[in-house]
Amino acid sequence: MERVKQLKLNLTEEEVEHLRLELGREPNDLELAMVDAEWSEHCSYKSSKPLLKLLPTQGRYVILGPGYDAGVVDVGDGYILTAHIESHNHPSAIDPYGGAATGVGGILRDILCVGTRPIALLDVLRFGSILTSSHSRWLFKHVVRGISDYGNCVGVPTVGGEVEFDESFERNCLVDVVCFGVGKRSDLVLAEARYPGDSIILVGGLTGRDGLHGSSFASAVLTEESEQERSAVQIPDPFAEKMIIEATLEAIATGRVRGLKDLGGGGLSCGLSEIAAKGGTGVEVDLTKVPLREEDMHPIEIMISESQERMLFVVESGYEEEVTKIFRKYGVRYSIIGKVTDDKYVTIKKGETVLTRIRADLLANAPIIYRNAKKPAYIEELKKVPKPDEPRDLAKTLIQLISLPNIASKQWVYEQYDHEVGINTVFKPGQTGAAVLRLPNGRFIAIRADGNSKHCYLDPYNGAAGVFAEACRNVLAVGTEPIAMLDHLQFGDPSNPEVFWTFSESVKGIADYAKNLNIPCIGGKVSFYNEDKVSGKAIKPTPVIAVIGLAESFDVLTKCYFDAGTRILIVGETRPELGGSEYYEGIHGLVGGVVPQVDFDYEKRLHKCMLKIINLRLAKAIEDISKGGLAAALAEACIKSSVGMVIDLKKVPNTCERVDEILFAETHGRFIIGADRYNEERIKEICASFNIACETIGEVRGDELAFEIGAKKVEVRVEELENAWGSTIPKLMGDEI
């Protein structure tokens, strides 16, 4: 263990013992360092694997589920859609610009690795309060700039995302990115080295000292010294990445690339052991062939460096020249560093000297850790907090609510992202909740990622299932059917039983939703240790769910655009579920209450019902109801369409006792539909046939959002709503409006 400490590794005593037993000898320093990188939580999923097995991974559209660089679904006509989700939380907390940018770079290569061209990015960001913390504003500003500079330069559109602010992210911001790719099924490549004799070619940037111990760094809590760990954050170079993307796609077209692996977490060490373990082969590599940024690098540093913009190519023996001339065309550096063997060992040499020879499957499979779970005491206590007083001036409250940073317009963010490049973005950020892109075969996908740390903190099971439900609602609202999902599970230190309980509950919630709704998981990521020693606090549990929706044709796509005379209907019942709501937390400063519950049977009926309404083209506009409740959804609908609405709150199907509950509850399973008068009854009939509540609650009229509550009226001019909603973030970030 002394050597483990000297080498600054995170391996536990049990893990070193396991390694010793398997090897039948003392591991040398290089082996310890390689195993440390590979067995880090980040690379190995050693704490989460047993629970992740609960997630269904098979389905009608699934070609490749979790376990590879990207999930793959069949979108018809020989085309595949690939998707992956990642985070770069720790690096972004220390170097927001570089951390966020390299996060984008990493995930693009994951998509590229399966032989597909990246076509879209979603960025899902979480920071502390930008109302009170200049540190959080600083992180927010530079994370967005990092994503903008990188994504824009490589020419992959950032078509959407989500931003949430909560004090629990003050020191641990979450920077998640989801990437999608499109290609032909016949070009699919896997991260495998199947054929002994094939050449292993390292392509891309030089291997340097940046990103040393990145995976291990991501698998430990942040400390005050973390500020000095900037060398663990890689240096972004989007231009180099762009050249790698083009060179890789051209190389794949030769048909001679038989395996591809992005070098991310764990560097060469992880990349080599994974392609060998997955392919059932071995690899032999000479470190003197690795192009280095600094001359005097130690073999350990070379093996675990996480320098960016590097890929491992496995190329059919005899065709190296055909492939490498493409790298030369693009000015991309490459070096043939070794070959695939049939001995199932990873052999690392320096010239003729063998530095290590270690079984690939031993490296690639960390011993599982079974963690203890304990329900935290706060869960039951916070359910019982007393309700706040009802505000006297609900019009004022509505303006306050839509000015909350979590609800306010994110135009300040998405305007910095090129969301049009590639000319596939049909529904753009700001128009609809989910982005819609066209596919080369004439079909359309909708993509959306959601999270809700406030719900998940109070009730991780319903919170996580609810996040899934919300992402589904978003893709349904644009007229597509949810066909697959990805999850990103972000929590504190898993050795804390209370943290692990929230993880366990979240996974169960997601798995139950996936099974019931028959939406398979095609990929995911787990990020633990999102806590810091300074405050001793973990982040609120934050599962992020990305859902892919598919539509056969353009005709069924539905915008969130309500024009004059349109009748407004609500689908679903409103219940007094305000725990973790923006209304409780943002307006009343109240943490607690009962969070919206997820009823799987209802959700099943709801999806079928909405798809029927969509396919019969009965809805002119659809919007889902989520953060901020009915009031926020209607306000946003008015703002986006530049229209007023008159709404009779008494018509809203509900079980609430108070008006503020009807307005601001975040009950799941609800939509607002805009329809022509002659389609109203048909929509209600369809809902009734699925036993789902549906009522006409008003119509598009005037230039105010007006709620009638019996004889009382709450009215706000749409212009005023728009000013409040649109100006919050630019003002906080010091921009003119």
């Binding site: 700039r145 903008s148 500079d149 824009n152 330069c153 490589v154 020419g155 170079d237 989007p238 231009f239 180099a240 762009k242 050249m243 065309k329 693009y330 000015g331 998405y414 305007e415 910095q416 992202y417 090129d418 969301h419 049009e420 490049v421 590639g422 000319i423 973005t425 049909v426 753009k428 128009q431 066209r438 353009f554 921009d735």
Partner: protein, 232 residues
């Protein structure tokens, strides 16, 4: 009519422009790698958007020295249409084929959004299908799009009717709000004196199919049709 779309290392709108030419308009167009030399046999050339050479040093400045630019210059001198979009505009300015300079946006941030453009000159090879004063909708996406030229140069631009597009309100009026990057006199596109070389920051290829436009418009397509001298 055969059009060359130049691909510099880091171009990223090359395939988009190529798609519009071949799939939307059905004309012959090739992606020409910048190192592959000749533009013989082409009737027009487009320098697409992107980040040529990663925008290192300054946007467009390295690509301006690419050998292919000698060929582009030759085509310009022969009076053939040369169109530079976004980064392509930056390259044309850096190579001296168009006057002025493009600087960091006034907000110091990348800006991607749909804007309104007023047609100031409909006598170029690219704007013949527009009416003067017509307001077009197209998206912009750039970090360095603030057009600048010295007072003497501006005078000359005006004398020779070289200002082709200005950013305006939807009704065609000028305002500070509608100028997204702080360009001098809201200039969004300029041409050479002969009217066969045009550079603009907005992306006409992103506004050439109704499905991609929030307004279901195809205002950008007319630039390509005009350039190709397509009837109808």
């Amino acid at each position: 009519m055969r059009i060359a779309v130049i691909v510099f290392p880091g171009s990223n709108c090359d395939r988009d422009v190529h798609h519009v030419l071949t799939n939307v308009l059905g004309v012959e167009a090739d992606l020409v790698w910048h190192a592959d030399g000749s533009l013989k046999g082409y009737d027009g050339v487009i320098l697409p958007g992107g980040f040529s050479y990663g925008d290192y040093l300054r946007a467009g400045v390295i690509a301006a020295f690419s050998p292919i630019m000698r060929e582009v210059r030759k085509m310009a001198e022969e009076g053939k249409p040369v169109l530079g979009i976004c980064n392509g505009f930056q390259v044309l300015v850096e190579s001296g084929l168009l006057p002025g300079a493009l600087m960091r946006n006034v907000g110091l941030k990348f800006v991607c959004k749909w804007v309104n453009l007023r047609v100031e000159n409909n006598e170029t090879l690219f704007t013949r299908r527009y009416v003067k004063g017509q307001v077009l909708r197209m998206p912009i996406a750039h970090n360095e799009g603030r057009y600048y030229i010295d007072p003497e140069g501006l005078k000359e631009l005006k004398e020779h009717n070289q200002i082709v597009f200005r950013y305006t309100e939807p009704d065609g009026t000028l305002s500070e709000r509608s100028n997204p990057n702080g360009s001098l006199e809201a200039i969004a596109g300029v041409c050479n004196r002969r009217g066969n070389v045009l550079g603009l920051m907005p992306h006409p290829e992103r506004a050439s199919e109704a499905i991609l436009s929030p307004y279901e418009t195809i205002d950008g397509l007319e630039i390509f049709k005009s350039m190709l001298d397509l009837g109808g």
